[in-house]
């Protein structure tokens, strides 16, 4: 209704009406009315390394991760809620140890062997306070695995404008991590070390029409400490990393097909020389009132770090052959299904990620270790109405 061509009288009446409480319930911040319990299982499986690009010739099985998650959100009073999130991950397989050249001068990846077997338990507790025009939350997260421990805290808040059309949000977080690499198959870059991560976020979203929302955000992250990968042979990284990211998103609901288009874009830049672009497209198709089908597509591309090389020069101060610091592009395609039956909501997702130096917009040495993977997940939520 309140578009550019709207008659000024109608615009004045409508915007004045929308200030009344009856029209703000939809945006009002209130704790959840019911306790919701959720469980999910997901499996992440990397493709085997390519036979022709692995030192020794044979393809080697890479990482597999099984994740089980438990989630509980419950109101504790008219303006408070608490949430508990527990996640167990079981990781196994081989990861790239180093990249070397074969007799022809082509870069080849040497895998660590199927020596890695680790489990991670992450427990996150959140409490949230709701007030008339917004909410504020505090989250504590503890993550524990054989060679890594992390404690993280985060504060976040959001505040709605008087007309309910604009929401400002902000968050700050800090994480304190200890690294104690498992000694065994391969030598490690440290015996024991630590790092801290501090982050901040500012965002604004605005309902720009009855059917569209626009979002914009800025974030900054500062990492300090041992940032080198402890298990990689040719890896020495700076002790600090400063990261900036700008993100934006647009949601548009189409009444005809009863579907919503989500478009998101993120630009990332850091002082290691890595810049990246991420574009997400998703089509949220409603099928009747109980089923949603969401095909999605993500494109990612990044530039390489200043100190990345497939053939590191050890006389440099910093060097790394980690494929995650190389220039590449990645495409994820997937499908999510959501179905509600009474108090149950069932979710299933399947996605495929493929990557190549050719997909990227930045040029650089292609890492032979670039990863491709499948990820599946299945889960349910139950609301105690």
């Amino acid at each position: 209704m309140a578009g550019r061509d709207t008659h000024p009288s109608l615009l004045a009446l409508t915007s004045s009406a929308l200030l009344l409480p009856a029209y703000q319930q939809a945006n009002a911040d209130a704790p959840p009315e019911f306790t919701t319990l959720g469980m999910s299982y997901s499996r992440y499986q990397e493709d085997d390394t390519q036979a022709g690009r692995t030192l020794g010739g044979d393809s080697i099985e890479r990482y597999e991760i099984d994740v089980a998650q438990f989630y509980l959100l419950t109101p504790v009073s008219d303006d408070w809620s608490v949430a508990l999130d527990v996640q167990w991950e079981d990781m196994s397989g081989a990861s790239p140890w180093f990249v070397g050249l074969d007799a022809e001068g082509d870069s080849q990846v040497f895998m660590s062997g199927a020596s890695i077997e680790d489990t991670r338990t992450t427990v996150s507790v959140n409490t949230r306070y709701y007030f008339d025009r917004g909410n504020a939350g505090f989250t504590y997260t503890r993550s524990d695995e054989d060679d890594y421990e992390s404690d993280a805290v985060a504060f976040d808040g959001s505040y709605n404008s008087a007309d309910g059309l604009t929401t400002w949000s902000a968050a700050v977080s800090a994480s304190f991590d200890d690294i104690e690499p498992t000694q065994g198959a391969t030598p490690t870059n440290t015996l024991e070390d630590s790092k801290d991560v501090y982050g901040g976020y500012l965002g604004v979203s605005r309902i720009i029409s009855k059917r569209a929302i626009l979002r914009f955000g800025l974030s900054y992250t500062y990492r300090n400490g041992f940032l080198t990968d402890p298990y990689k042979l040719q890896d020495s990284r700076p002790g600090t990393r400063k990261e900036w990211a700008v993100s934006s998103g647009y949601r548009h609901f189409f009444a005809g097909p009863n579907a919503a288009l989500h478009v998101d874009y993120r630009y990332f830049d850091d002082d290691w020389g890595i810049a990246s672009h991420t574009v997400d497209l998703a089509w949220w198709q409603n099928l009747g009132r109980k089923t949603q089908l969401v095909p999605f597509l993500r494109y990612y591309t990044q530039d390489e770090a200043d100190f990345f090389s497939n053939t590191p020069d050890f006389s440099d101060r910093y060097f790394a052959d980690d494929y995650r610091l190389s220039a590449f592009g990645g495409i994820t395609t997937g499908l999510r299904v959501r179905h509600t039956v009474g108090n149950w909501t069932l979710n299933a997702t399947g996605e495929r990620y493929t990557t190549s130096e050719d997909f990227g917009i930045y040029s650089g040495d292609e890492s032979p270790a670039l990863v491709k993977y499948w990820r599946y997940s299945i889960g349910f939520d139950y609301s105690f109405r």
Partner: protein
């Protein structure tokens, strides 16, 4: 599906709900309670209502404390007053004391003039915390917008309660969301201003609201001219304008005050204004001719 009828705000109220069967009765009860809450809060006739307290303090220079909802309604009423060049005025209800539409008789000489000093939005002082009627005997009447607001608020309650589709009909003012299963819109008949059991037009709405103002039976004929039952707050006299107006808008509150403002304007100006607003509308003039963008189908 659940149909729920009750009487509130001096008229028949009807809810039609679709969704999970087990939650509909509770949702209907919540929506009815919301309508009754607003009736009890804003009725002129209930001794313990906020309106009665505000009117009781008229001329005493004692501000009456108000909550956010009331401040919101006053803010809205002020916007409607400004946008209608003073025609939409919640302080004008008192003028009805001079007019007896049933008898068709003119007021006693001087009766209208005696009431006019107690009428005028400018004689009301308000802020977010309180309201003051500055003239003794002055009256604030939320009747011009609270039924429409109740429609929207009841619909919002139903939506929050998890109802999938609902029509709230408070004596002809309606708000709706979702659509009945297997349909793409609510089919609504607009009542004929003279033959109440007949529809003068139909409109299909997939959401939003429809409000109507006007009633041919309550018109008054003076010297061969037909006047509506709505009184001009500036002259104290009935308006020689349209006899019925229906408007559809996103909110019943906006639809209702738009229809009322159209009734208060001279007929030709009202038609031009409705046209300019661009909302779906239907107007019936004194000769029972239909105008507007809502198709005439019998």
């Amino acid at each position: 599906m659940l149909e729920h009828s009750f009487t509130a705000m001096a008229g028949p109220c009807r809810l039609r709900l679709y969704g999970e069967d087990e939650l509909l009765p509770t949702a209907a009860a919540q929506a009815e309670a919301e309508v009754r809450r607003l009736e009890a809060k804003y009725s002129r006739y209930q001794e313990d209502s906020l309106t009665t307290r505000i009117n009781g303090a008229a001329g005493s220079d004692q501000p009456v404390a108000i909550d956010d909802e009331t401040a919101g309604l006053l803010q809205y009423a002020e916007t409607a007053w400004r946008e209608s060049d003073g025609l939409f005025d919640l302080t004008s209800g008192i003028l009805r004391q001079a007019w007896d539409f049933k008898s068709g008789a003119l007021p006693e000489p001087g009766a209208v003039e005696a009431l006019l000093p107690k009428v005028g939005w400018g004689k009301l002082r308000w802020d977010r915390e309180s309201v003051t009627l500055t003239e003794p005997g002055m009256e604030l009447d939320f009747g011009g917008c609270v039924k429409e607001y109740a429609c929207d608020s009841a619909a919002a309650q139903l939506r929050q309660a998890g109802v999938e589709a609902a029509l709230v009909d408070l004596a002809g003012d309606m708000a709706m969301f979702g659509t009945p299963p297997g349909t793409s819109a609510w089919e609504i008949g607009i009542r004929h201003p003279r033959h109440h059991e007949q529809a003068i037009a139909h409109i299909a709405l997939s959401g939003g609201a429809l409000a109507s103002s006007g009633d041919y039976a309550r018109c008054i004929t003076i010297d061969g001219k037909t006047y509506g039952h709505i009184l001009n707050p500036v002259t104290g006299w009935p308006v020689e304008g349209l006899v019925a107006v229906s408007v559809s808008a996103g909110q019943c509150l906006v639809a209702g005050s738009t229809a009322t403002i159209a009734m208060l304007k001279p007929a030709d100006q009202a038609l031009a204004w409705l046209e300019a607003l661009g909302l779906p509308w239907l107007a019936v003039d004194a000769g029972l001719n239909c105008h507007g963008s809502i198709g005439e189908r019998r």
